[in-house]
């Protein structure tokens, strides 16, 4: 699985989805944050675990990190283990009742095939590793919270469909995948009468839940988010130069675009233009090497509503 797919698997632990056990909820955890920066005691360095979840009753906070590569990052792990319950409460404003009795631990999530390799690299009694093979989770390392370990070990996911794309694409996604998510945002702005659309406005909509996930840990350079922005800009500029050339143009050097025309006010004209946009989108997807959307040619029959 890619990093994006594994991240969406981890998000099923929080967001209820058919067939996917919300293991964090079952184990009594509340997700505090997805992809939020946590400051370390020096108030300068920071970490950005993919998920931060707390079980107040048993006194645990899990910092969950997805790893699709083959190696753990020693520096990142050191920083994650450095953060204390008091830091979570005092520096990062998380609700941690009784920090003196609270425990922070790290959970790495990786592909099942990499489980042993990761476990060998993270020899600490506050670090657990979860491998996922598509239907089951297998565990290695240490899990201070046995309740969470039991829930993960017992969870079974039906084979077949993957998790919902709570995070719909990342900087490694194909242009067609990005186009499928970005083009509707352009049409939404056009439909609501907006004249200008920006890359950040689009990402706020497509990645509203987890935008911070794309930020790098530690350096604060925003490299991951920059890559994501760059990919969106590439896709939109490609569309603008080809199938959507009649619809919008770039605004100077900004990462924003202006619509050249608006949708007609009359229902028939509006529907005709929207279907033209559908055809343009399908031509773009086909050119990018993806099967066009399933669609029918449906004549517009009038402005009746339901």
């Amino acid at each position: 699985m890619t990093h994006l797919e594994l991240l969406n698997v981890v998000l099923t632990w929080r967001f209820e989805q058919p067939g996917w056990p919300p293991v964090l909820a079952h184990a009594g955890y509340i997700v505090d944050a997805v992809g939020v920066c946590l400051f370390l005691p020096d108030r300068r360095r920071k970490i950005v675990p993919e998920v931060v979840a707390t079980c107040a009753d048993r006194g645990f906070t899990a910092l969950i990190e997805v790893k699709s590569g083959r190696n753990a990052e020693d520096d990142q792990l050191r920083r994650m283990l450095e953060i204390s319950p008091a830091d979570l409460r005092d520096l990062n404003h998380l609700s941690i009742p009784g920090p003196e009795k609270h425990n922070v631990f790290v959970v790495y999530v990786c592909n099942a095939g990499e489980l042993d390799r990761f476990a060998a690299q993270v020899n600490d009694d506050r670090v657990g590793v979860v491998g996922f093979d598509g239907t089951r989770y297998s565990l290695a390392g240490s899990f201070p919270d046995q309740e969470l370990a039991r829930e993960l070990a017992a969870a079974v996911v039906p084979s077949g469909g993957g998790p919902l794309p709570i995070v719909p694409f990342d900087q490694d996604s194909s242009p067609a995948t990005i186009a499928r998510c970005v083009l509707p945002e352009l049409v939404a702005v056009l439909t609501s009468g907006g004249g200008v659309v920006s890359v950040d406005g689009i990402l706020m909509r497509t990645h509203g839940v987890v935008l911070e996930v794309m930020r790098p840990t530690g350096s604060g350079s925003g490299a991951e988010l920059k890559s994501l922005r760059r990919r969106v800009v590439e896709v939109i500029n490609d569309a603008m130069g080809n199938e959507f050339s009649a619809w919008f143009e770039r605004l100077s050097q900004d990462q924003s675009w202006r619509f050249k025309r608006s949708l007609p006010h009359d229902s028939a004209g509006k529907t005709r233009d929207l279907q033209t946009l559908r055809r343009a989108a399908d031509q773009l997807l086909a050119r990018l090497g993806e099967t066009p959307s399933i669609q029918l040619t449906i004549p517009f029959v009038g402005p009746t509503q339901q």
Partner: protein, 358 residues
């Protein structure tokens, strides 16, 4: 104020079986329920919004002595827009229904920030019980022809369209369901309710509530009508706000925590060709009015990030043989989910999503 200006029709008779909606030229009161979208929309300033929209349509907009009530005038006809219930507006008029419908439709079409209140069939059916009114008449409208190809007819029947007048309408509706004459096809399009005053006087109103937020009224008390319509709007508001509160995905900046969940609605499909239905749902046309790029992600599993053309906001929909799953981003109106499920109730299975829409 409006009551004093309204030429109320003759008192309701039990044998009055005329379809109020189609009665051209009638001058009974009509109330149109509208939803003005929140989230930094121009509708936050109703007067400025109405003036801007009205200018496009030739409507004159005036303030009144009541800061939440505005008078709209279209070629001599008055409409009274009451914005006192926040994003849920009520527009009253005594103008003939065919003209009033046109003004409402034009106002809604003029801006993506204003929409009809779409009362789903399951909510319409509950109105008598939840508003302590009497169900006098109901109409059904269920049409499966839109979502299946002609070569693959749906199970049981194609469509149902009927209007029932009965002395015990509620009991008739219950029997109709129990007998399964139209399995999963009893989709309420309108209900006519009689409401009386609590004081024991003879004041009453008979109001027909349509799925598209139109209310036609006869009777002798505008106050009784107002009480009833406010109750209905409160029920609808509570439904939309519940969806936004429980399901909108994103950070709640007040609680500083992640909130929401995908909306999972089990669906018992009454059609065999799911791919055809999905392609129809996202084709920018009625009844769903969604623009999207649906893709097949697995056997009998389709996904589309879509634009709700009513409001110009996006959502992601997964459709499988077992259920429909909707990801509602924080900031997208809850009425998008209500309208989507209502369309499934009208065109696939009248029992879809009932638990959520109650």
């Amino acid at each position: 104020m409006l009551a004093a200006r309204s030429p109320w029709p003759a008192a309701y008779r039990a044998d009055d079986v005329e379809d109020v909606e189609s009665a051209s030229g009638r001058t009974s009161v009509k109330t149109y329920l509208l939803e003005a979208h929140a989230c930094d929309a121009p509708t936050r300033d109703p007067l400025a919004f109405l003036k801007t929209a009205g200018a496009k349509l030739g409507l004159e907009v005036e303030e009144t002595g009541d800061r939440d009530l505005f008078r709209l005038n279209a070629q001599g006809d008055d409409y009274w827009c009451d914005t006192s219930m926040g994003r849920f507006w009520r527009m009253h008029t005594t103008v003939a229904v065919e003209n009033a419908d046109k003004v409402r439709d034009a106002l809604v079409a003029a801006s993506p920030w204003l929409d009809n209140v779409w009362l789903p069939p399951s909510l319409l059916e509950e109105l008598p019980e939840k508003t302590a009114s009497e169900l006098q008449t109901f109409s059904l409208s269920h049409d499966r022809t839109l979502l299946h190809p002609s070569a693959a007819p749906p199970a049981d029947f194609d469509y149902v369209s009927m209007r029932v007048w009965a002395s015990r309408a509620a009991e008739t509706l219950r029997k109709l369901r129990q007998a399964e004459v139209f399995p999963h096809g009893v989709s309420i399009r309108s209900v006519k309710l009689r409401a009386d005053t609590d004081s024991g006087s003879d004041e009453f109103c008979v109001s027909e509530y349509f799925h598209n937020g139109k209310v036609t009224v006869t009777g002798n008390s505008f106050d009784v009508h107002t009480n009833l319509v406010v109750n209905v709007v409160r029920l609808y508001r509570s439904l939309v706000e519940k969806i936004e509160r429980e399901f909108a995905l994103g950070y709640d900046t007040d609680q500083v925590r992640l909130n929401g969940n995908p909306v999972v609605v089990p669906v018992e499909w009454t059609l065999s060709d799911l791919e055809y239905a999905v392609s129809r749902m996202f084709a920018s046309v009625e009844p769903f009015r969604l623009w999207g790029l649906p893709e097949k992600v697995a056997d009998d599993h389709y996904r589309a990030r879509a634009v709700d053309l009513h409001v110009g906001q996006t959502l992601t929909v997964d459709v499988t043989r077992q259920n429909v799953v909707i990801q509602l981003p924080r900031g997208t109106c809850g009425n998008t989910v209500v309208r989507f499920l209502a369309a499934l109730q009208f065109h696939v299975n009248s029992d879809t999503g009932k638990a959520l829409l109650q």
